[in-house]
């Protein structure tokens, strides 16, 4: 069965510092991976996705993620964070049987200190 594990429940960083949010997946078939962001009191928004092709994926708001098949990882990175990046970040894996669906990880809360 496909699943994702987010290794850190909370990540505090200082403003303008780099950040990496870790995600590992397990899948026995083709891998489709996603990062979603949830700002306070809002729904989830797609940050970026990996379906195929280049292993380095660029998303919105300056975020990027790298698909690493040998390490079964899909870590999210940003070189310099802003206060506005404070949110919950969810790694997810796509599953397809009769229709497509997404399985989410437990989330990582990113808090930015001034």
């Amino acid at each position: 069965a496909q699943s994702v594990t987010q290794l850190d429940s909370q990540v505090p960083v200082f403003e303008e510092a780099p950040v990496e949010l870790r995600c590992n997946y397990s899948s026995s078939v083709s891998v489709y991976l996603f990062w979603y962001v949830q700002y306070p009191n809002q729904g989830l928004q797609l940050l970026l996705k990996y379906l195929s092709g280049s292993t380095l994926v660029k998303g919105i708001n300056g975020f990027e993620a790298e698909f690493n098949k040998s390490q079964t990882s899909f870590h999210l990175r940003k070189p310099s964070v802003h206060i506005s990046d404070t949110a919950e970040y969810f790694c997810a894996v796509g599953v397809y049987s009769s229709a497509s669906k997404i399985i989410f990880g437990s989330g990582t809360r990113l808090s930015i200190r001034p």
């Binding site: 429940s9 729904g43 989830l44 928004q45 379906l51 229709a99 497509s100 997404i102 399985i103």
Partner: protein, 117 residues
């Protein structure tokens, strides 16, 4: 383009009462999802519709939860009777899924925060 609409935004009920949530997806999106997000956890899929047919309801507690999407557009999720452990945010999402690039691309509403006391 209008986003996914949900109402109400907040609801407080006592255990054993019933409650209903409404969702209007983005126009033209055939697939609609209901998720339950318990505090500190990721969203868990409850039910998935393709037009007005159920594709996956394997994680829906059918003894108390029900959902319908009568005309293939908006949808209602009901809980009857509610339990304390149903306290969560209920998220609705929709997707277009025309072509490879849009597959898995779900658009989420703001959610309904349910508190059961």
């Amino acid at each position: 383009e209008a986003g996914v609409a949900q109402s109400p935004r907040y609801k407080i009920i006592e255990k054993r009462q019933s409650v209903a949530f409404w969702c209007n997806p983005i126009s033209g999106h055939a697939t609609l999802y209901w998720y339950q997000q318990i505090l500190g956890q990721g969203p868990k899929l409850l039910i998935q519709f393709q037009n007005n047919g159920v594709v996956d309801d394997s994680q829906l507690p059918k003894d108390r939860f029900s959902a319908e999407r009568l005309k293939g557009v908006d949808s209602t999720l009901k809980i009857q009777p509610a339990k304390l452990e149903d306290s969560a945010v209920y998220l609705c999402a929709s997707s277009l899924e025309v072509g490879w690039e849009s597959i898995y691309e779900q658009y989420f509403g703001p959610g309904t925060r349910l508190t059961v006391t």
